[in-house]
Amino acid sequence: MRPFSFNKSANITQALTIKKDNTQFIAGGTNLVDLMKKHIAQPENLIDITDVLSDKIENTDNGIRIGAMVRNSALTTDNKILSDYPLIAKAVFAGASAQIRNMASTGGNLLQRTRCPYFYDVSTPCNKRTPGSGCSALQGDNRMSAIIGYSEHCVAVHPSDLCVALAALEARVNIIDKKQKASVIPFKDFHRLPGSEPHLDHNLPSHALITSIDISRNPFNKHCAYLKLRDRDSYAFALVSVAAALHIESNKIMEARLASGGVAHKPWRWLASEAYLKGKEPSIEHFAKAAAIAADEVKPLAGNAFKVPLLKGAIETALQNCLRN
């Protein structure tokens, strides 16, 4: 690690005031400390914001508000989440290990960086780590890389499981900027596709903080599933993951939500598949067709063609699993 000064902030105003250009906020630290040890992140100042942000899960007029400092483990045990937004708990439970879930914050989960091996290997070119240096994964080992939404500059995937569920549930990210103005970013606009600037992961303005996540009350709690396929059964990043949620009334799908992790630079929504399912009966045939529509959209790289049938099977299975709970 490069040396850095360490300050603990007592409130949002102070945290935003003392933040300089080469300062990073630290909450759970599960990703940042690792990146600092590898000299990928080299902040000159750290501001500990664990006491600054809310660690409460609260009811709002229209749903629920998750404070940015709520630990991931709390999302898997909170009664409101388990009864009304179970997709969140299912996704978080599939992510990381129990120790890391005890440390990691909700806000930090959105800001974690890709685990692309070339991003972590400082001896190789990586546009995300060093803009303009090239993408080693494009022609290299891209087994874990993206199959949709990528560019010639970057084929890395977003690592979060929570974010896949938040994308499916159309969450809203509440932020506060350096002028202390609060605003809201819809989840679909929070993360970015790589384009020609893959070093920018998201649209959170610099010097701004995530304060909380809002999720509207929704009818998806009865039929939802999170399926994560990975190289080992637990504590690994997704090859492909699927968050599926169905609103079913009188044996008819009123609305469907489908999102995936492990396939793109951001949590990916399968909008055409969702549109296909709307108004249909929940049947294995329709689920298979919806999966085929999604699989038709993707363009795998040389090393990850296996992800196409994997994705198709995962979507079909996740949709079927929606009917089991």
Partner: protein, 193 residues
């Protein structure tokens, strides 16, 4: 270094030459030195480990794991991967099991930490420590402190309904030697108490 008249003359000559350099050159030298070797920052830390409060000063880069092992000489928590992947460094902060290698010591300041050394009461072992001995839950022993800290959390938080649930909860502790079945058995044994 052996001190001699000759070395004294060499060192004092070098210092005199340095003093004679223009201040702009010295400032440049300092800038270059700071760029290559940035000066470290230290911070005072007050931390309660195993019910005993320690007051120390540490480099801001010090992780809780390094503070425990190198400054407080509590070497029970082990350094395995040092990147949050193996679980050998697992300790409890405010009763929750976390990775001490990914926790900055400065972030743990003011909090209550429990390590493997704090589980036993004098000579009386914690039930989980006893169970690990009885069920042969360790082989080389290196991962054992981390496994036991996670195992205690596993029972406390009630994730012991099935072998699958135990294995899922314990998946952050990566060692998979011949003792693995003994670890699961130890957890089942303590859960049944």
């Amino acid at each position: 270094m052996k001190s001699s008249r000759r070395s004294f003359l060499k060192i004092s000559g070098a210092l005199a030459a340095l003093a004679a350099l223009p201040s702009s050159v010295k400032a440049f030298y300092k800038d270059v030195k700071n760029f290559i070797i940035p000066p470290k920052h230290t911070t005072p830390i007050s931390i309660t480990v195993n019910k005993k409060t320690y007051k120390v000063t540490a480099d801001t880069r010090t992780t809780l794991l390094d503070l425990l092992r190198e400054q407080l000489h509590l070497t029970g928590a082990k350094k395995g991967c040092d990147h949050g992947q193996c679980g050998a460094c697992t300790v409890h902060i405010k009763g929750k099991h976390v990775l001490s290698c990914l926790t900055l010591a400065a972030q743990a300041a003011g909090k209550e930490v429990t390590t493997i050394e704090g589980l036993a009461e004098g000579d009386k072992l914690h039930p989980m420590q006893k169970a690990f001995i009885e069920c042969d839950g360790f082989q080389c022993g290196y991962c054992t402190p981390g496994q036991i800290m996670s195992a205690v959390a596993c029972v406390n938080e009630g994730h012991t309904k099935s072998v699958a649930a135990i294995k899922e909860f314990m998946s952050g502790n990566l060692c998979r030697c011949g003792a693995y079945n003994g670890i699961v058995e130890s957890i089942q044994k303590v859960a049944a108490l």
